[in-house]
């Protein structure tokens, strides 16, 4: 089945994808941070039963998975880096196309995540809310009339919702304009961070915009505000693109074609370099300055597949750094061999 990130919409503009995350806890049970193993197991079983009526959501226990396995799931945005680092009884329930993934016993008992390729945050909310209603059919959530859905960290209470946009911003990132955007986003109660969220590097000029406040505003208002800022940033990016193309068209075009050439011919390549070159090629298509055949898969898909965990998964064994760089080059070359 086609994964959400294999859809063409993830390559069609500045907005790669949108995501909704809902945090929930079960009433009268300690939050995961204060659960013992027996308690965590009982929560896991209760949630497994609650999700069971929806057969499309496939449960997978995560308790004893290897570091490499979990790392690869983080790279595919199926689980959070915190969930990968945690120990103890925990699991996920996900749709086969990975557009909905529910983490069980993360920082909260339930963390629902729904992702949509391209600019469709409303659909992501519908999918997340449906998963929420499914669990609520048999589970009483911890809820307070004043504080809303109660979460382990009070910064998530209220709606328990984060709405995120994944944005590809090569013009803003390469001209340094991103610093001002990050500052401006903060003033609107939003955060703009690297592609894997908090504390991560903006590899491949990919950033994640999400709301900070979760209490005191309805889901619709939060979604509308985040969307409006994402569109504003998109406009700034495209305005900057016009300026860059007026001032340095030949330099940018040269950079895009060189990037394509390296990706099509490399024999060993580090992750940072590959991400930067793929970002240039993606920019080349979106800015209509690259007139060469599209690689065999979406650029965002290739970006995901060349991460450390994905390479190890394909190899079926642990590989050293030098070999990893060669395997990455092999994969990229194959994608660009069109």
């Amino acid at each position: 089945m086609e994964k959400w990130y294999e859809k063409k919409t993830s390559d069609s503009g500045v907005i790669i994808s949108t995501r909704i995350r809902l945090a929930r806890n079960i009433k009268n049970r300690p939050f995961p941070g204060r659960l013992n193993e027996k308690g965590a197991l009982s929560i896991l079983n209760q949630l497994k039963d609650a999700i069971a009526p929806e057969e499309a959501l496939i449960f997978e226990e995560m308790t004893d998975k290897s570091k490499d396995y979990l790392h690869e799931m983080v790279e595919r945005h199926l689980i959070s880096p915190e969930f990968a680092l945690k120990t103890g009884m925990r699991g996920i329930a996900a749709l086969e196309d990975e557009s909905v993934c529910i983490m069980l016993n993360e920082e909260d008992h339930v963390r629902i995540q729904a992702v949509c390729s391209g600019d469709d945050i409303e659909q992501a909310y519908v999918a997340a809310s449906q998963a929420d209603d499914l669990i609520e059919n048999s589970v009483d959530y911890a809820f307070d009339a004043k504080f809303g859905y109660l979460t382990s960290c009070p910064t998530n209470a209220g709606t328990g919702m984060r709405a995120s946009f994944m944005l590809h911003l090569p013009a803003l990132a390469q001209t340094g304009g991103i610093a001002q955007i990050i500052q401006a986003a903060g003033k609107f109660g939003m955060a703009l961070r690297g592609m894997h969220g908090e504390g991560s590097d903006p590899l491949g000029c990919i950033f994640q915009l999400s709301n900070q406040a979760t209490l005191g505003k309805s889901e619709n208002v939060i979604i509308a505000a985040t969307k409006s800022l994402a569109h504003e940033i998109t406009e700034q990016e495209m305005n900057l693109k016009e300026k860059i193309m007026r001032d340095a068209s030949i330099v940018i075009t040269d950079k895009v074609y060189r990037s394509y050439g390296i990706l099509a011919n490399c024999r060993t390549i580090k992750l940072n370099e590959a991400m930067a070159l793929l970002s240039n090629v993606r920019m080349g298509y979106i800015w209509n300055i690259l007139d060469l055949p599209h690689p065999k898969a979406n650029l965002y898909f290739i970006m995901m597949e060349i991460q450390h965990g994905s390479i190890i998964k394909r190899a079926g064994r642990h590989v050293e750094e030098k070999e990893e760089d060669c395997l990455r080059a092999d994969f990229v070359r194959e994608m660009f061999n069109v």
């Binding site: 504080f147 709606t159 209490l215």
Partner: protein, 168 residues
């Protein structure tokens, strides 16, 4: 004694919190600043008899501490045992009941993080029938007002009856 926050009004309230190592800090506040710090808790809860503090022994007129005081102890959550200090150290609460146990301290935290301390939006259908009814009544009251303004009295009467029915 003047309020330690505004340095203008007379201190009427003591906020006492235990800190690590068993020590206790005391903050002397006027009722207005105390209200602000406690996120608008009911006034009768925090304002003590002003006259008592003026007229009683050890009144502030003699430079002593306020007689009547509210003491906020830094208690533990009775359900999971987490202390407020424990929460401050990790930023994580232990259970849903912590929100009740530390409600007074959490209100200003919520206001500073979210810019609000009152939930608006989705709520669970299970176990929140009262809240659901309350929200419906609020919406119907707005509808009733609009209908009266538009002089649609027949429909307004129906909405009024529905409000009565839900408010029983």
């Amino acid at each position: 004694m003047l309020c330690e926050n505004c340095n203008k009004r007379v201190a009427e309230v003591i906020i006492r919190q235990s800190v690590s190592g068993g020590a206790t800090t005391e903050t002397f506040l006027c009722s207005e600043c105390a209200m602000q710090q406690m996120g608008g808790a009911p006034i009768e809860f925090i304002v003590k008899n002003f006259m008592n503090s003026i007229m009683g022994a050890g009144s502030e007129l003699f430079g002593n501490t306020p007689q009547s005081s509210l003491v906020i102890e830094n208690k533990e959550c009775p359900v999971c045992g987490l202390s407020y200090e424990g929460f401050k150290a990790t930023g994580r609460l232990g259970c849903a009941n912590c929100y009740d146990a530390f409600r007074i301290q959490l209100i200003p935290v919520m206001k500073s993080v979210h810019g609000a301390a009152e939930h608006i939006g989705k709520f669970p259908k299970r176990g929140a029938a009262g809240l659901s009814r309350m929200r419906e009544v609020e919406q119907l009251k707005v509808k009733l007002k609009n209908l009266i303004e538009q002089e649609e009295f027949e429909e307004a009467a129906r909405v009024r009856d529905k409000i009565k029915e839900l408010s029983v």
